[in-house]
Every structure is written in C-alpha cells, then in structure tokens.
C-alpha cells in the first residue's frame, strides 16, 4: 500500500514549489483569487439558469447545488494533489522525465508533486461553501453521513484515476494534453447537472466506461432519498468506493505500461 516515506517526499517537493510560487506574491494571491472566481462564477451561472426555471428535470437548485458541490470538491482534491500529472508531455519533450528517473523517488510521486500549486485552494474553498450550503437541505441519517463521506473520498479517487490514466496518453503522443481535459474537466462539468437531462446512452457510458456518475450522481440520489430516474438498481448508490478503487487500479496499470513504453527523446 501507500508508502509513508513517499508521502513525506511528496510533501517536501510540494513545499518547495509553494515557496517558489511565493517569490511572485502578487501573482500568487491573484492566482488563488482568480481560480476561486472562475469556479465561483460557474455556480453563479447555474444560479442564473434557475432564475428562468423552477426545476431542471425535476431537480431543484438545492439538489443541483449538492451535485455541483460534491463533484467540484472531488475534482478540487484530485486537481490540487496530482493535477501536475497533466504536464507530463512537457517533461518528456524537455527531457526532465529522464532527470526524474535517475532520482530515488517513484516517478509518479515526482510528477504529481512537481509544480505543486496552492492556487487551486480557490476551487476547494468555493466547492466547500456550495457543498456545505447544499448539505443543510439534506435530511441526514447516520447512513447518509457515511455515504456522503465515502462519496467525497471515492469521487476524489475517480478523478485521481482519470487524471493519471488519461495523462498517460502523452507517453505515446506528447502534445495531446487537452485530450485528457475532456474526461477530467469534462467529467466535472457533466456531473454538475442531474444525469437525467442526458440520454440513456450517456448515463450508461458514465456508469460503466468513464465512471464519473459514481462521483456524485448515485450517492446523491441516496442522500436526497430519490428513486433512480433511469430505474437503475439501488445498489449502485453504494458502489462509489468500488468505482474509485477500480478507476485508480486501471490508471496505475496504464501508468506502468506508459512508463515501460517510454523511450527518451534522446535530445
């Protein structure tokens, strides 16, 4: 399992980058505020949508806020912790990956901690506020608390997996960074809305292929005490941890084969 010394190394590298970013203090503050604003305005957008609506396919603003907050929080955790893995194409192109390979720290730890940035705290704060607000409308039971906590952890795991897995495409083609965005940020966007606004095929795809439906949709149905609009079995509402672990495992496999495939650019 997770080796604690690696976690410590990760922390040290991350701390190094925080201090480096602080060399431009104005930029540092503006970056954090700006990122918070981008996601904050995102929610204002949803709110404006509801000025023209009573409900979105049967979901009220509070319920959509719960979906939005939980997905955004999961993405924020993953993005803050390992978002740098997106930059792997740059490391390959510039030869930095070769340097990293010579160091006695696992490659994945180095890549994830590299260019660690606290600016994503903006998103984390904003997502927490929206999620907290939406939570006040949930009719809590002990089991719902358990499901909510496992939803956030599993959601972060799913996004961890998507970030790592899709970034590996860059081992084969180094400049296709944006391809991964369709699944990571696209996954975060798709989960902002109730899944029943999409056709059935999309629901199937987001359950079995890119399992972002487990990030918030299924557990939130349970938290809200709603029947599944697609008539899916209720057991899916508790399956998020499984989806998280499976996504993560698949991503690590892809990562290993990516690293094996890697041959230096040689320049």
């Amino acid at each position: 399992m997770v080796d604690l010394t690696h976690l410590r190394t990760y922390g040290q590298i991350a701390w190094l980058w925080i201090r480096a970013a602080w060399q431009y203090p104005t930029s540092f503050v503006l970056l954090a505020v700006g990122n918070g604003m981008i996601t904050g305005l995102d929610f204002v957008g949803l709110w404006i949508m509801f000025a023209h609506l009573n409900d979105l396919e049967g979901f009220t603003l509070h319920e959509v806020a719960l979906l939005y907050g939980s997905a955004s929080l999961a993405l924020a955790f993953a993005d803050t912790a390992i978002g740098s893995v997106e930059r792997i194409g740059t490391y390959i192109r510039t030869g930095r990956l070769d340097q990293m390979m010579t160091k006695p720290v696992p490659l994945l730890v180095q890549v994830c901690a590299d260019q660690f940035t606290l600016r994503r705290l903006g998103r984390l704060t904003q997502a927490s506020v929206v999620f907290g607000w939406a939570c006040t409308y949930v009719d809590w039971t002990p089991l719902r608390v358990v499901v909510a906590v496992s939803m956030l952890v599993s959601g972060a795991l799913v996004f961890f997996g998507l970030f790592v897995g899709f970034s590996c495409i860059q081992f084969w083609t180094t400049d296709a960074t944006e391809f991964a965005n369709a699944f990571t940020y696209g996954g975060a966007t798709v989960t902002q809305y109730p899944l029943n606004i999409f056709p059935r095929e999309v629901m199937v795809g987001l359950t079995f292929v890119i399992p972002v439906a487990f990030v918030n949709w299924y557990p939130c149905l349970y938290l809200l005490g709603r029947p599944d609009p697609f008539g899916n079995p209720e057991v899916l509402q508790f399956a998020s941890p499984l989806a998280g672990v499976l996504t993560m495992a698949a991503a690590l496999l892809v990562w290993r084969s990516g690293v094996r495939h890697y041959t230096s650019t040689g320049s």
Binding site: Y24, T26, S27, F28, V29, L30, L31, V33, G34, N35, M37, I38, L41, D42, V44, G45, I48, M49, A51, H52, L53, N54, D55, L56, E57, R119, T173, D175, A176, T177, E178, F179, N181, A182, G186, T189, V190, Y193, I197, F198, P199, V202
Partner: protein, 265 residues
C-alpha cells in the same frame, strides 16, 4: 507587408502541433455535447428564455465552443510570448526594433486566430451541424457581418490580453492577472451562459462591457438577432471597444518603456 509575413509565420508555428489540435477539437466537442443537453433541458422547461428558442440555444453552445480558442478566451495566444519576453528581459531587443510592438503582436495574434478558426473553429461547428442540427447564419449578409464581427472580436480580445501581458512590466509575472482576466472573460463574454439570460442590471452591465464582443455579439449576428441599423450598432460596439483598448495598449506601452529595467545584464 511585414505584418502579413508575421501573421503567416505565426499561423505556421501554431499548425505544427497537429495532435494537440485534434485533441482540442475533441475536447471542445465533448463540452459542446454536455452544454447542449443542459441548454435543451433549460429551454425544454422554459421555451422562450432570453428570447432564444431551443435551436438558437444549441447553436449558441457550438458557436461558443468554436470561438473559444479563436478569441483565446482563457488568455494566452501570442501575448504570452510578450509576457515571457518581458520576464526574461528580451523585450529590450524588441523595443529598439523599428516596428511598433502593438502592431507586431496584433499581426501575429491574427495569424494564430486564423489557424484556430480553421481548425478548432470549423471542427466543432461541423460536429454541431451534424449531431445537433444547429442553425446556419440567418442570411448571406449575416454571414459576412459575422466574419467581420469575428475579426473585431479577436482584436478586442487581443487588446485586453496585451494589457494583461503588459502588467508583467510591473509585476514581472502575468499569470495571476491572466487568470483573473480569464475569469471575467468567461463570465462576461457569454461563454458560460448567454448574456441574454442575465437578469436586470447584471444583463445591462455585461452587455456594455468589452467582453460581450467575444461571444455574445458574434453569436447574435449569426443567429440573425440584429437587423438593419441594429447590425451596424452591434459592429459599432465592437469597433468602439477595439479602438479604445488599442489606444490603451499604446498608452500603457509608453508608460512601460519608461520603466523597463533589463534584468540579468
């Protein structure tokens, strides 16, 4: 002639990254599909929201995805090169060249925009036409006006990005200001949600700010929401902001050159 040469070189520079372009078209299209369904759900519930019908709304989504890179909504484009040259001090060389800096970078950015329009613009638009049956321009006149409006949109966006990059003269690093500016651009351009849906004073304000030139104005022209003098007024709005902001760029550059301290000797 010089500026045309600059523009074509930049066009070619951007066209080097083919896989990146394909990945980008794919990603824009995924977002196009997501937003299309979200808007369809909205207009299904409220069929006349903001004076659009469902087809207008879906067309708007795909136009937004097509314009995203062309107008460099997130910031970036060739003005990133400028900011980097300020940070490294190479800007000193640029400043004693016998060519205006604003014109040089504008030409370069138009070259970039042309490449992004041909690839990242046409790609998602085609997918939108095939998959979601989006509306075509209301008339040939509107198609021509849309093209003009698009050039103006790039110029307005360039001027704002140039101003953002110029902050590097004082802050040395533009990234913070760039993210802030990007946040405003996404919200006030109508990229996130059409400005026609913005209620009351927020709607009035956002339709008066320069960012409205990015997506809302060109999209409304495409959809045929402006006719006759209204069409001229829409283009006039963009010209106004283009002129004001380009003048601001010149002004800021004059201030900045007085302040240039070349680093690293």
């Amino acid at each position: 002639m010089l500026h045309v040469a600059v523009a074509t070189r930049t066009f070619r520079r951007y066209s080097t990254y083919r896989a990146a372009t394909l990945a980008g078209i794919f990603t824009n299209s995924v977002f196009g599909v997501i937003y299309s369904y979200a808007y369809l759900a909205l207009w299904n519930e409220n069929p006349t929201a903001g004076g659009y019908d469902a087809q207008d709304a879906v067309t708007y989504v795909w136009l937004g995805q097509a314009l995203l890179m062309t107008i460099a909504l997130w910031g970036g484009g060739t003005t990133d090169d400028l900011a980097e040259r300020v940070r490294t001090g190479d800007i000193a060389i640029d400043l004693y060249r016998p060519v205006g800096l604003v014109g040089w970078y504008l030409a370069s950015d138009l070259g970039r925009a042309a490449y992004h329009l041909l690839t990242r613009g046409f790609g998602p638009t085609l997918i939108g036409i095939v998959v979601f049956d989006i509306a075509l321009p209301a008339s040939p006149l509107h198609a021509v006006a849309f093209a003009v409006s698009l050039v103006l949109a790039v110029i307005v966006s360039f001027a704002i990005r140039f101003l953002v990059a110029s902050t590097a003269f004082w802050l040395l690093d533009q990234s913070g200001v760039k993210v802030m500016s990007g946040a405003f651009a996404i919200f006030f351009s109508g990229m996130m949600l059409p400005l026609v849906l913005f209620p009351g004073w927020l709607g009035t304000l956002s339709n008066a700010l320069p960012w409205a030139s990015y997506v809302q104005v060109p999209a409304d022209i495409w959809l045929g929401k402006h006719v006759g003098t209204g069409l001229l007024a829409a283009l006039g709005f963009q010209v106004f902001w283009a002129v004001v902001l380009l003048a601001a760029c010149q002004g800021v550059l004059r201030l900045a050159t007085r302040k240039v301290v070349v680093q690293g000797g």
